[in-house]
Amino acid sequence: MVTGNDAEQVKLLFFGQLKERLQCANYTIAIKQPLSIKQLKSHLISLQPSWQAALNNDLLIAAVNQQIAQQQAIVKGGDEVAFFPPVTGG
Protein backbone atom coordinates (compact mmCIF):
# COMPACT_ATOMS: atom_id res chain seq x y z
CA MET A 1 0.00 0.00 0.00
CA VAL A 2 1.23 3.46 -0.87
CA THR A 3 1.04 5.96 1.95
CA GLY A 4 1.86 9.67 1.95
CA ASN A 5 5.34 8.93 3.26
CA ASP A 6 6.39 6.44 0.61
CA ALA A 7 8.51 8.05 -2.06
CA GLU A 8 8.08 6.79 -5.61
CA GLN A 9 10.59 6.93 -8.41
CA VAL A 10 10.35 9.03 -11.53
CA LYS A 11 12.79 8.45 -14.36
CA LEU A 12 14.13 11.64 -15.96
CA LEU A 13 15.76 11.82 -19.39
CA PHE A 14 17.65 14.73 -20.95
CA PHE A 15 18.51 15.19 -24.61
CA GLY A 16 20.53 17.38 -26.97
CA GLN A 17 22.20 20.50 -25.69
CA LEU A 18 20.47 20.14 -22.31
CA LYS A 19 22.05 16.72 -21.76
CA GLU A 20 25.44 18.22 -22.55
CA ARG A 21 24.96 21.23 -20.26
CA LEU A 22 23.82 19.05 -17.34
CA GLN A 23 26.41 16.39 -18.21
CA CYS A 24 23.66 13.92 -17.45
CA ALA A 25 21.51 11.76 -19.74
CA ASN A 26 19.24 10.21 -17.12
CA TYR A 27 18.45 10.73 -13.46
CA THR A 28 16.08 9.09 -11.04
CA ILE A 29 14.17 11.27 -8.62
CA ALA A 30 11.92 10.25 -5.71
CA ILE A 31 8.62 12.05 -5.19
CA LYS A 32 6.24 11.68 -2.25
CA GLN A 33 3.12 12.79 -4.12
CA PRO A 34 2.16 13.63 -7.70
CA LEU A 35 3.73 16.88 -8.89
CA SER A 36 3.24 19.16 -11.87
CA ILE A 37 6.10 19.43 -14.37
CA LYS A 38 6.80 22.87 -12.93
CA GLN A 39 6.97 21.53 -9.35
CA LEU A 40 9.09 18.59 -10.46
CA LYS A 41 11.55 20.99 -12.06
CA SER A 42 11.76 23.06 -8.83
CA HIS A 43 12.31 19.89 -6.83
CA LEU A 44 15.05 18.82 -9.22
CA ILE A 45 16.75 22.22 -8.95
CA SER A 46 16.65 21.97 -5.13
CA LEU A 47 18.57 18.69 -5.44
CA GLN A 48 20.92 19.93 -8.19
CA PRO A 49 21.28 23.73 -7.79
CA SER A 50 23.87 23.99 -10.56
CA TRP A 51 21.20 22.86 -13.06
CA GLN A 52 19.02 25.90 -12.41
CA ALA A 53 20.01 28.03 -15.40
CA ALA A 54 19.80 25.16 -17.88
CA LEU A 55 16.42 23.94 -16.58
CA ASN A 56 14.81 27.37 -16.32
CA ASN A 57 14.98 27.87 -20.07
CA ASP A 58 11.55 28.78 -21.45
CA LEU A 59 12.28 26.99 -24.72
CA LEU A 60 12.63 23.60 -23.02
CA ILE A 61 10.00 21.03 -23.94
CA ALA A 62 8.77 18.35 -21.53
CA ALA A 63 7.31 14.95 -22.29
CA VAL A 64 5.56 12.61 -19.83
CA ASN A 65 5.61 8.96 -20.85
CA GLN A 66 6.70 10.06 -24.35
CA GLN A 67 3.82 12.49 -24.87
CA ILE A 68 4.51 16.23 -25.08
CA ALA A 69 3.28 17.81 -21.83
CA GLN A 70 2.59 21.33 -20.57
CA GLN A 71 3.98 22.81 -17.31
CA GLN A 72 0.77 21.96 -15.43
CA ALA A 73 0.78 18.29 -16.46
CA ILE A 74 0.90 15.88 -13.51
CA VAL A 75 3.76 13.47 -12.93
CA LYS A 76 3.34 10.45 -10.69
CA GLY A 77 5.50 7.59 -9.46
CA GLY A 78 6.63 5.28 -12.26
CA ASP A 79 6.38 7.94 -14.96
CA GLU A 80 9.14 8.71 -17.45
CA VAL A 81 9.72 12.44 -17.87
CA ALA A 82 11.97 13.91 -20.56
CA PHE A 83 13.25 17.45 -20.96
CA PHE A 84 14.74 18.65 -24.24
CA PRO A 85 15.36 21.70 -26.44
CA PRO A 86 13.35 22.33 -29.63
CA VAL A 87 13.98 19.57 -32.15
CA THR A 88 16.32 19.97 -35.13
CA GLY A 89 16.21 16.75 -37.16
CA GLY A 90 15.78 16.19 -40.88
Binding site: F15, G16, A63, F84, P85, V87, T88, G89, G90
Partner: protein, 153 residues
Protein backbone atom coordinates in the same frame (compact mmCIF):
# COMPACT_ATOMS: atom_id res chain seq x y z
CA UNK B 1 -1.22 0.87 -47.74
CA UNK B 2 1.88 0.52 -45.64
CA UNK B 3 4.17 2.67 -43.51
CA UNK B 4 7.82 1.76 -42.97
CA UNK B 5 9.85 3.68 -40.38
CA UNK B 6 13.53 3.10 -39.70
CA UNK B 7 15.92 4.93 -37.40
CA UNK B 8 19.46 3.61 -37.69
CA UNK B 9 23.17 4.35 -37.54
CA UNK B 10 23.50 2.51 -40.85
CA UNK B 11 23.39 4.17 -44.27
CA UNK B 12 20.50 3.50 -46.64
CA UNK B 13 20.30 2.58 -50.32
CA UNK B 14 17.88 4.86 -52.16
CA UNK B 15 17.33 2.25 -54.89
CA UNK B 16 16.20 -0.36 -52.34
CA UNK B 17 13.88 2.10 -50.59
CA UNK B 18 12.47 3.28 -53.93
CA UNK B 19 11.84 -0.31 -55.06
CA UNK B 20 9.89 -0.97 -51.87
CA UNK B 21 7.58 1.93 -52.75
CA UNK B 22 7.18 0.86 -56.37
CA UNK B 23 7.34 -2.89 -56.92
CA UNK B 24 3.97 -4.63 -57.09
CA UNK B 25 2.20 -1.32 -56.52
CA UNK B 26 0.23 -1.03 -59.77
CA UNK B 27 -2.62 1.05 -58.33
CA UNK B 28 -0.37 4.04 -57.94
CA UNK B 29 1.13 6.18 -60.66
CA UNK B 30 3.55 8.32 -58.68
CA UNK B 31 6.52 7.85 -56.37
CA UNK B 32 8.23 10.93 -54.93
CA UNK B 33 11.28 10.75 -52.70
CA UNK B 34 13.43 13.23 -50.81
CA UNK B 35 16.96 12.66 -49.51
CA UNK B 36 18.64 15.05 -47.03
CA UNK B 37 22.46 15.24 -46.97
CA UNK B 38 25.17 16.65 -44.71
CA UNK B 39 26.17 19.86 -46.46
CA UNK B 40 29.41 21.75 -46.21
CA UNK B 41 28.59 25.29 -45.21
CA UNK B 42 26.69 26.57 -42.20
CA UNK B 43 26.79 29.95 -40.46
CA UNK B 44 30.08 30.97 -42.02
CA UNK B 45 32.07 27.88 -41.16
CA UNK B 46 32.93 24.59 -42.85
CA UNK B 47 31.03 21.65 -41.45
CA UNK B 48 33.03 18.43 -41.26
CA UNK B 49 30.24 16.30 -39.82
CA UNK B 50 26.86 16.24 -38.15
CA UNK B 51 25.99 14.30 -35.05
CA UNK B 52 22.39 13.25 -34.54
CA UNK B 53 20.68 11.89 -31.48
CA UNK B 54 17.06 11.06 -30.78
CA UNK B 55 14.61 9.95 -28.10
CA UNK B 56 14.14 6.22 -28.79
CA UNK B 57 10.50 5.05 -29.00
CA UNK B 58 9.07 8.56 -28.82
CA UNK B 59 10.64 9.40 -32.19
CA UNK B 60 9.22 6.28 -33.86
CA UNK B 61 5.74 7.03 -32.46
CA UNK B 62 5.90 10.64 -33.68
CA UNK B 63 7.06 9.63 -37.16
CA UNK B 64 4.27 7.06 -37.39
CA UNK B 65 1.72 9.67 -36.39
CA UNK B 66 3.06 12.15 -38.99
CA UNK B 67 2.99 9.46 -41.70
CA UNK B 68 -0.58 8.46 -40.77
CA UNK B 69 -1.72 12.09 -41.03
CA UNK B 70 -0.15 12.41 -44.50
CA UNK B 71 -1.59 9.08 -45.62
CA UNK B 72 -5.08 10.12 -44.63
CA UNK B 73 -4.88 13.65 -46.03
CA UNK B 74 -3.59 12.68 -49.52
CA UNK B 75 -4.75 9.03 -49.73
CA UNK B 76 -1.14 7.94 -50.02
CA UNK B 77 -0.30 4.31 -50.72
CA UNK B 78 3.08 3.43 -49.31
CA UNK B 79 5.20 5.65 -47.08
CA UNK B 80 8.83 5.13 -46.15
CA UNK B 81 10.78 7.23 -43.63
CA UNK B 82 14.43 6.44 -42.86
CA UNK B 83 16.39 8.71 -40.49
CA UNK B 84 19.98 8.18 -39.51
CA UNK B 85 21.53 8.93 -36.12
CA UNK B 86 25.12 9.09 -34.88
CA UNK B 87 28.18 10.75 -36.42
CA UNK B 88 27.63 11.56 -40.11
CA UNK B 89 30.58 13.04 -42.07
CA UNK B 90 30.19 15.58 -44.88
CA UNK B 91 28.20 14.31 -47.87
CA UNK B 92 26.53 11.47 -45.94
CA UNK B 93 22.82 10.80 -46.30
CA UNK B 94 20.77 11.86 -43.26
CA UNK B 95 17.12 11.31 -44.07
CA UNK B 96 14.92 9.68 -46.71
CA UNK B 97 11.20 10.26 -47.15
CA UNK B 98 9.35 8.54 -49.98
CA UNK B 99 5.68 8.07 -50.76
CA UNK B 100 3.53 6.55 -53.46
CA UNK B 101 0.20 7.98 -54.58
CA UNK B 102 -2.24 7.76 -57.46
CA UNK B 103 -1.14 11.13 -58.78
CA UNK B 104 1.96 13.31 -58.74
CA UNK B 105 0.63 16.30 -56.75
CA UNK B 106 -0.47 14.18 -53.78
CA UNK B 107 2.91 12.47 -53.71
CA UNK B 108 4.83 15.78 -53.77
CA UNK B 109 2.59 17.31 -51.09
CA UNK B 110 2.82 14.21 -48.92
CA UNK B 111 6.62 14.27 -48.91
CA UNK B 112 6.73 18.01 -48.18
CA UNK B 113 4.24 17.63 -45.34
CA UNK B 114 6.17 14.75 -43.77
CA UNK B 115 9.49 16.63 -43.96
CA UNK B 116 8.00 19.85 -42.56
CA UNK B 117 6.46 17.98 -39.62
CA UNK B 118 9.52 15.78 -39.09
CA UNK B 119 11.74 18.85 -38.78
CA UNK B 120 9.52 20.56 -36.20
CA UNK B 121 8.06 17.65 -34.22
CA UNK B 122 10.19 14.51 -34.37
CA UNK B 123 12.56 14.19 -31.41
CA UNK B 124 15.92 14.46 -33.15
CA UNK B 125 18.74 16.85 -32.22
CA UNK B 126 21.58 17.81 -34.50
CA UNK B 127 25.07 19.04 -33.66
CA UNK B 128 27.42 20.50 -36.24
CA UNK B 129 31.10 19.65 -36.03
CA UNK B 130 33.55 22.14 -37.52
CA UNK B 131 37.29 21.55 -37.81
CA UNK B 132 38.06 22.91 -34.31
CA UNK B 133 34.71 23.27 -32.61
CA UNK B 134 31.15 22.03 -32.49
CA UNK B 135 27.75 23.58 -31.95
CA UNK B 136 24.18 22.39 -31.44
CA UNK B 137 21.93 23.46 -34.30
CA UNK B 138 19.39 26.09 -33.29
CA UNK B 139 15.72 25.60 -34.02
CA UNK B 140 14.71 27.71 -37.04
CA UNK B 141 11.55 29.83 -37.09
CA UNK B 142 11.37 29.29 -40.86
CA UNK B 143 10.93 25.53 -40.26
CA UNK B 144 8.00 26.22 -37.96
CA UNK B 145 6.43 28.55 -40.55
CA UNK B 146 6.80 25.82 -43.17
CA UNK B 147 4.96 23.37 -40.91
CA UNK B 148 2.24 25.85 -39.96
CA UNK B 149 1.32 26.60 -43.56
CA UNK B 150 -0.18 23.08 -43.77
CA UNK B 151 -2.71 24.08 -41.11
CA UNK B 152 -4.08 26.94 -43.22
CA UNK B 153 -5.22 24.79 -46.13
Amino acid sequence: MSIEITISHDDFDIAVLHDALQIGNVQQGAVVTFTGLVREFSQGDNVVALELEHYPQMTEQLLLSIAEQAQKRWQLGRISIYHRIGYLPLGEQIVFVGVSAKHRQSAFDGVQFIMDYLKTQATFWKKEHFSHSSQWVEFKASDLQAQQKWMED
